[in-house]
């Protein structure tokens, strides 16, 4: 499971919609880091490919976290 950090809850929900259009399963979530709370999406899909797809939709992935570090 990966957690892809996006800049806001709005961006996270938009990401979920974009990925759903590609039949990629994801869910929105939030983690707390030293930089404060960060919204993003959980997905089991390849994170690099996910970020490429999201960038086509105008979203920047700020960070990719995996495994036990995913929140």
């Amino acid at each position: 499971m990966y957690f892809i950090v996006l800049r806001s809850a709005t961006a996270a929900e938009k990401a979920r919609r974009i990925l759903s259009g590609y039949k990629i399963s994801s869910s929105t979530g939030k983690i707390t880091t030293t930089k404060g709370c960060r919204f993003g999406i959980y997905t089991e899909y390849d994170p690099d490919k996910t970020c490429r797809l999201l960038s086509l939709g105008g979203l920047n992935c700020l960070e990719i976290r995996n495994g036990g570090d995913a929140g």
């Binding site: 800049r7 806001s8 809850a9 709005t10 929900e13 979920r16 979530g29 930089k35």
Partner: protein, 381 residues
Amino acid sequence: MIYLDNAATTYPKPVSVLHTAEKALYDYGANPGRSGHRLSLETSKQVFGAREKCAEFFGGETENTVFTLNCTHAINFAVKGVCQSVGHCHVITSDLEHNSVIRPLHALYKQKRISYSIADSGNSDSELLASLERLIRRDTAVIVITAGCNVNGRITPLSDIAALCRRHNICLIADCAQAAGVIPLSLSDGINIICAPGHKGLYGPMGTGVLVTDGKFPLSTLIEGGTGSASGDINQPDFLPDSFESGTINTPGAIALGRGVEFVTAKGIDRIYTHEMSLCELFVKRCESIKSIKLYRCENAKSLPVVSFTAGEETSSITADMLSQNGFYLRGGLHCNFLAHKKQGTLEKGTVRLAPSVFNTRTDIIKLTELLYKKYGGKSS
């Protein structure tokens, strides 16, 4: 009771809006964009859906659509946001403007942060355009203008004004308070920032509004605070919509507004406009035989479904009071727009404003005019 004060706020609201607001209060009670638990995320999802509908409705991007408390808030965010970002600049507006436009401009002027000019709208689109063009200076940064006047219904030629703004690299801010949901309005017409209330022609609850920007002109923030994002940074986030949504938004209002937009889209703006205009035309036609009723309309420009009138020498508040006592709810006075009243010579007495919604019928208008016949003389037809 016959409610014809829909230019102040539409009433009643569609049943779907009522049910959605109720469901939001029952089922989406967590704070959206704040917590990571399931209820908060579900609420965020609902808010996003409403934001998406508003964005689509005005031809904007979802992230560039900001929920505000009303149109006045949106106009303040837009005008002050652009002016603060540019520095001291010149702003042009028109003599048709509501206080939600002229008061922020005048406040900025008193603080020596801008200078502003008021274009004479004359009696036609070409006169308004010529007047706007004449006032443009090298330091003009913004034209802020109504899409349609809330006193006499006059529609302004926004596409032509947008073309003028593009030629001079001026930001066009449209006050769509009366026009949103009644005539088509889109960023694709060249408007840079659309400001709209949620509670009028979009049939959402009071306490809702939107600002939709094409992002071409940077906006400084007026209110800073918690956004649920970038919380470890002392600086306000610089991305939309978070930068303009500090503090908790009116969540049930926003979700219900999404349903209102859906209602308008399903009905069709053209059908809504045709229906409401036909009621105004019926009113005008039936008032023809009442000599003491004077109507205030712009004959040489397109109009929103709003008709202002006075009865004889009475002040508008007396006429509106009489109507209220007989079960007809119309607004008298200056409608928060002294500029338009000054232009049409009704600053002293004000006017009574007829503003139908999609829920009014021909029978409502016939009953209203029957009362006017009875009070002021005239022939019933």
